[in-house]
Amino acid sequence: MMKRFKGMDKASRDTLITYALIIVAYAIMQALLSLHAISSSMVGLLVPICAYISLSISLNLVVGISGELSLGHAGFMSVGAFTGLVAAQVLAPAIPFGPLRLLVSMVIAGIFAAVAGVLVGIPVMRLQGDYLAIVTLAFGEIIKNLLNNLYVGYDGALHFSMKDVASLGMNGGKVLINGPQGAVGITELSTFTAGFLLVLFTLFVVTNLVNSRSGRAIMAVRDNRIAAESVGIDTTKYRLMAFVVAAALAGMAGALYAMNFSSIVPKKFDFNTSILILVFVVLGGMGNIRGGIIAAALLTILPEKLRFIGDYRMLIYAIVLIAVMLFSNNEQVRMAVDSMKSRFARMRDDDVIDDAAEGGEA
């Protein structure tokens, strides 16, 4: 067993370690939950953490693996969240079993987010670099604005309007999405286990895509677009593939996230949420999926743990963010750390030499 593990290539070993990390974390949390050893505020964070981990993994596919800066990931999360909510309400009589309904809603959410991903992706993929980033930001804002004006009602059939509740023309029934007020009275279907399974699924999809022929093509396009094109890789196709897969996974995470709360507003999924997910990816190390997972978990828990310092909490978050970026990217700091490391290494070597010398004397 151990031999097989060591014999594996680095990528699959890395993936296995990541799976193991998630499963162990889940087992520990379940054990703590059954012992009632965690505070209620932490229990409330479990599903959001899972959602953010999934979002971090999926954005890593775009930013780290495909090398495109996307500033509108929350838009896809939002599309998934609201389609998932509507699907869950409409399917309630047909599928009374909660977990199955959650699963079906999440799949529908993923499909709709993927469609949004294609619609956004086709124009976006004509651009590059900072311009691409701005357009994803613009699309994120447009999605937020459209959802802010969307009214959806259900009375046996679905009614849509972009004006107000009155123009839905409903016979009784229920208003599912109420414009800027968002969705209220959500059946809270999401569970920690569902979140855990979504994280595993997201990880499975992304790592398998990365270690496939398509994944290698995506990374080739990232590393050198012109060289990739010259060996016959359809660059737009592979960039779009990464973008759409990430959008679908974000949509599923969005549905999970939304069904954890009794109400949710479109404003929740704004530019700041997109940035939050991007911060997970960057702090975890771009393209490093495990790093992104850990960053997502820590940075979701940290503000909660810092609640006791009240208003200073977000200030400290900002300072931590700047400090980490400065320390991990500054030439001088990196050189100082390197020289410190080599000094330590030398000290250790000196010890060895001293030991050897002493041994020789004795």
Binding site: V63, L69, P123, R126, L127, D130, Y131, A133, I134, V135, L137, A138, F139, E141, I142, N145, L146, N148, N149, P180, I226, F271, I275, L278, V279, V282, L283, M286, D311, Y312, M314, L315, Y317, A318, I319, L321, I322, M325, L326, S328, N329, N330, E331, Q332, V333
Partner: protein, 293 residues
């Protein structure tokens, strides 16, 4: 008359966007970074002016000058502490740092000045001008805004073409290495750009708050993003482009609000950006750079 009044409001709002966009475009041109903290400098400028007028009882002109000086210093300090150590770092690291600075400024403002919106008193205490028997009212602040924008544009164009520092800026934005070899102090030049951009942001903040008189720690973020959009529409890195993009965006926003709906105005503004970039990937006045293999 409604049309003309909307047009005037649009040009006035567009002038504010243009002033903010100038700051974005100059910083991008020289440092190649998306400075997301720029919008929050606007907010700081607004607060300094507010405090100077309401708490210290200073005359408006002094308050505005104080706000410009304050923001210029802020711009230089932020550049020295947060961005200078990251020269040559990956652009994403710089972007995240800028976002960190933006969060820092917002939360600092929240701590110092509180979350409740402040009612900003206009820096101009003049009655509105009524034309055509009162059918058309023009607020003096819109006229001042447009004039300020024109003056800044002319001033900046002269500065970048005629002065030594301005030429150094253009040289640095074209090729930093070559500029350094010609004896230009690149660090000072970049600091100078941040100083000018932040000073402009202070002016924009005062003008924006005089027209839309609510001041909150998040006041700057949306105008900041929109002005950034304007800079990209005009062609980021181009000074006339920033002015064109800003005024275009202001007019589109006001007309969309008037004829389509307040809620969808922002979506339309961003849709315009996407359409423009699809037709002209480098913006309206941006230089198309041919890719060399």
């Amino acid at each position: 008359m409604g049309f003309i009044s909307n047009l005037i409001n649009g040009i006035s709002l567009g002038s504010v966007y243009a002033i903010i966009a100038l700051g974005y475009t100059m910083v991008y041109g020289i440092a190649k970074m998306l400075n997301f903290a720029h919008g929050d400098v606007i907010m700081v400028g607004g607060y300094i002016c507010f405090i100077a007028m309401n708490n210290l009882g200073l005359p408006p002109l002094v308050a505005v000058l104080l706000s410009i000086v304050g923001c210029t210093c802020l711009g230089i300090v932020v550049e020295r502490l947060a961005y200078k150590p990251l020269r040559g770092a990956p652009s994403l690291a710089v972007l995240i740092t800028a976002i960190g600075v933006s969060y820092f400024l917002q939360n600092m403002a929240l701590l110092v000045w509180g979350a409740d919106p402040k009612a900003f008193r206009s820096v101009l205490d003049l009655p509105s001008i009524k034309l055509f028997d009162g059918q058309l009212t023009v607020s003096p602040i819109s006229i001042v805004t447009v004039l300020a924008c024109v003056a800044i544009m002319v001033g900046l164009t002269l500065f970048t073409t005629r002065t030594k520092m301005g030429k150094a800026m253009r040289a640095c934005s074209e090729d930093k290495g070559a500029a350094q070899l010609m004896g230009i102090n690149v660090d000072t030049t970049i600091s100078m750009v941040f100083a000018i951009g932040s000073g402009l942001a202070a002016i924009a903040g005062v003008l924006l708050c005089s027209t839309y008189p609510t001041l909150m720690p998040t006041t700057g973020s949306l105008p900041g993003i929109k002005a950034f959009t304007a800079a990209v529409i005009g062609g980021i890195g181009s000074i006339p482009g920033a002015a064109l993009g800003g005024i275009m965006l202001g007019i589109i926003e006001i007309f969309a609000k008037a004829y389509i709906g307040t809620q969808l105005a922002d979506a339309i503004v961003f849709a315009v950006l996407i359409v423009v970039l699809l037709i002209r990937p480098a913006g309206l006045l941006g230089k198309e750079t041919r890719e060399k293999v």
